[in-house]
Subunit: 543 residues, 2 copies
């Protein structure tokens, strides 16, 4: 027998129409380069987005053509999120933190036809313009300055288009909507291409109460960049549900973010640990009577904060928890749309101690609905979910990539039975909480046993004098490899090796797992997406 259900395709266009119909009075706030705030209603947003789509079709955009964006987080970037696919195009977010040569290479690999760029980023564009010729460069006058005549003016383009006459490009639900390149600490970046289907499914799953729990009454501040991993899907979720959005523009320093939170108090924020770590240090210092910022900020009561993109130390969760801010961490990749797991509170832990609950909150989390997850041991066996058995984390699901643009599905990235090999080493406990021990290549093999650099880092960062810690392997004749800890002290503070080792011993590390050596550094080098860039540390401390 056959099901009788309609075959209506999943579509971003439905979400846009829904927002225009239902949420026209709700608000989108964007912080401009001069730090002033610009406000749009969802009604204006809806009309502008359709105008953008109409304009792109007027410029000759064909189905499947890539339109690159090089933009901060703001309303016009959100217009691209829905307007480019509405016209049948594929939005390709370029990562402005990458080296210019890499941006140019990526634009060429994607064969981007048009570029939509913030005027304040034109100097960056000039550095890679010779590597890829865009047929048209459309400049968004984010700063308010006039657009030079050799470029197309985004506002003029929209003003000349008729949103009422626009018709959505027909599409199937598997048709592409957007693409993003992996940050690739190893090898060339590779393009992941999302579809209407994957994006709608990821939005539904990501909005669930046990995920971001977004309601139309929320005020969402996405600090995670819209130019990488879809700002964790929040632009789609917010439009689907009509939540108020507050975009920080280019102002991502803790001081700026705290100021913005005073002006437009959010109920939900999204960001990476680095920024949140710096923010809480600044906030806590502002509470001291002698601080120049004394009394300037008050963290919003009941704020939910999604933090991810790198491991979140328990100390960060505790530090925000003292001010009533709930930190929820997750794990994901560009390849997973990106949310794969979230450390949400579980019924089974309601009677548990604070320490026990914090221990879980400091893990990478539980797989979201529609995400299949397994841990593959060294011999290809499925590891039990016992909290200790480690192996490679592999995932599968309808919003997880099955290959890469032009690169297919290389066997180092995909198993023969079609699962994504994440390159992370992890274990899962009986409640389904996953813990990343390490990247496959960051594990330290000492005397035939593995030492997790991530575990050492998290423990060291709990020391009151330590701001950050990164642990790498150094070669060792006897043990094969030994851990080297690179630590960054908080301003004016320090600790001895003995102090730090003593702390590690109280945290349950064995003597042989303690760092062989400590190096004090000024800052941990990071990739463009905020992850520890251990390759640079390995080059700096080769032995």
């Amino acid at each position: 027998m056959q099901a009788t259900m309609m075959s209506t395709p999943l579509s971003l266009n439905h979400l846009l129409e829904r927002a225009g119909r239902l949420f026209h009075d709700n608000t989108i706030v964007s912080r401009l380069p001069d730090k002033s705030l610009r406000r749009h209603s969802y009604g204006e947003y809806y009309r502008r987005t359709r105008a953008l789509a109409a304009a792109l079709q007027g410029l000759g955009l064909q189905k499947g053509d890539r339109v690159a964006t090089l933009c901060w987080n703001h309303h016009a970037h959100l217009e691209c999120y829905f307007g480019i696919p509405a016209a049948g195009g594929v939005m390709h977010t370029l990562n402005l933190r990458l080296p210019p040569e890499e941006i140019g290479w990526i634009a060429g690999d994607a064969a981007d036809r048009f570029l939509i760029i913030d005027d304040v980023l034109l100097p960056l564009y000039q550095q890679f313009a010779h590597l890829h010729r865009f047929e048209r460069v459309i400049v968004f006058a984010f700063s308010g300055a006039p657009v030079a005549p050799e470029f197309t003016d985004y506002e003029a383009l929209l003003a000349a288009a008729d949103p009422d006459a626009f018709d959505y490009a027909p599409h199937a639900e598997d048709d592409p909507t957007s693409m993003c390149y992996t940050s690739g600490t190893t090898g060339k970046p590779k393009g992941v291409v999302y579809s209407h289907r994957s994006t709608v499914l990821h939005s539904l799953v990501g909005a669930l109460p046990d995920a971001t729990a977004v309601r139309n009454t929320d005020v969402v501040l996405p600090v995670t960049p819209m130019f990488h991993a879809n700002s964790w899907g929040m632009p789609y979720i917010a439009v689907m549900l009509g939540a108020k959005l507050v975009f920080p523009g280019p102002h991502l320093h803790p001081e700026d973010l705290l100021d913005l939170m005073q002006q437009e108090p959010p109920t939900l924020t999204l960001g990476v640990p680095t920024i949140w770590l710096a923010m809480i240090q600044l906030y806590d210092s502002s509470l001291q009577p002698g601080s120049p910022h004394h009394g300037r900020w008050q963290l919003p009561t009941g704020l939910r904060s999604m933090v991810g993109g790198a491991a979140v130390p328990e100390s960060l969760i505790r530090a925000f928890g003292r001010h009533g801010v709930w930190i929820m961490q997750g794990w994901g990749m560009t390849e997973t749309s990106p949310v794969g797991t979230l450390a949400y509170p579980r019924a089974e832990l309601q009677g548990a101690s604070d320490d026990e609950r914090l221990r879980r909150a400091a893990m990478a989390g539980v797989p979201m609905p529609l995400v299949d997850l397994r841990i593959r041991g060294d011999h290809g066996q499925d590891q039990p979910w016992d909290g200790t058995s480690v192996g490679e984390l592999q995932v599968r699901g309808p919003f997880i990539t099955g290959g890469y643009h032009e690169a297919g599905a290389p066997p180092d990235k995909f198993t023969a039975d079609g699962w994504l090999r994440t390159g992370d080493v992890a274990s899962v406990d009986a409640l389904g909480y996953m813990r990343i021990s390490d990247r496959t290549k960051d594990l330290i093999k000492s005397g035939g046993e593995w030492i997790s650099s991530v575990d050492l880092e998290n423990a060291l960062m709990a020391h009151p004098a330590v701001a950050e810690a990164a642990v790498i392997a150094i070669p060792d004749e006897k043990w094969s490899e030994r851990p080297l800890a690179c630590v960054v002290f908080k301003p004016g503070q320090q600790a001895t090796h003995e102090d730090m080792n003593a702390l590690l011993l109280t945290k349950g590390f064995a003597k042989w797992q303690l760092p062989e050596r400590y190096e004090v550094i000024d800052a941990v080098p990071r990739t463009s997406t905020g992850k520890f860039y251990k390759l640079q540390l390995r080059e700096r401390f080769p032995a």
Copy 2:
């Protein structure tokens, strides 16, 4: 270009596996016929469900075969919800409130191969057994009594099967999982067949924070029957997210439900207005010092209550609101999986008065994500969303049926461009809140103008002496039709026609809209699903 996403099909089996993996320690409570409670862990549930699937395959179940259920709300029915599709079968929920001849006819139309039935419902089965021959009748010993040898014992079947050796039947996401017949106050009942895809999408949408907002920490009491319209999808949602379930079994009287809420306090309930109306009357009376139930019950603090299946009067929302219970109503049909709209709180109304917010809460609600909704006027035009323009409510989306089992897509049910014609007359306001004025056939045409029977009913039910009111059209020589109000008074109370008319005038009705006549009746006749059965009233009061 092509998207690179995996083509993993949406599947109920994924949700079941997820529950078994993640939520094994959470609980499913079922109330037995003797009112005692039986508890299963999700871990046991998972194994029993797989055992059921293995057993059905052992009995020769083939892909697409229908397995009927005739069961109350309890754990074994939940096992059928996932176990039958896991084996490749289609669960067909038979509605035990229908006349036996109709049940038999429906089983024949669906060509049900097996029947899974509660032992306490065997007397009902005997009344329609001659109309359709099930190849096998599997009896669930709900009462605990031994199963007669001419039947297959559900427990023995499960005990003999090996859940570990079970393999899911392969399926595509559009393959059928379950079917339900429309209640059909007119015409023959028609079968709606749901798929893996429609059920998973409906579950994701229905669980959103602006819908039922289910978390794994919730305790859900579904009073809405699992034998009609999937208990609003809650069995699927709860398993997907691991929420604790409390099933009321056959005990649906207000006294029983209040007792159950004392024993297992829910955070979320689902029910129809009739039961909730009777419950609040009983509860309020129990607060009187002289009541025999004085002090027996306390409604759970912060309880969320989804009420639907028929219009919810504002007075009901206010009555529960006084005790801190939030009533949220919705609209849906068997054809819409069933949730189509929900009257959830909107950001735009945060500054509005209580009256204004209650006015919206008393409407049918806002379309859910993935649901397209339009109001078609008499001349086929789309009506504006101005809160006053009425027309036929039409819907479209991936969890809305596009036809019926064996009956295709008749033109009185579907438009030429593929929308479902609901038969409801409605308007939508600027915020997207939909208001059902009437069923097409229940509108009263008086002197060329329409009078809404639903509006009159809701207004009359706000009278303190009125328990229920149903308004029908009676023929009138001069005006063509005029309203007749059938009212049920609360015990020991009454009101005059003048009283009730005076109330209607204060509620904004014009003089010509007032009922032509009042009839006092003992109870409003209802369909098997709790809707007013106006056909019977029309027969009783022909003029």
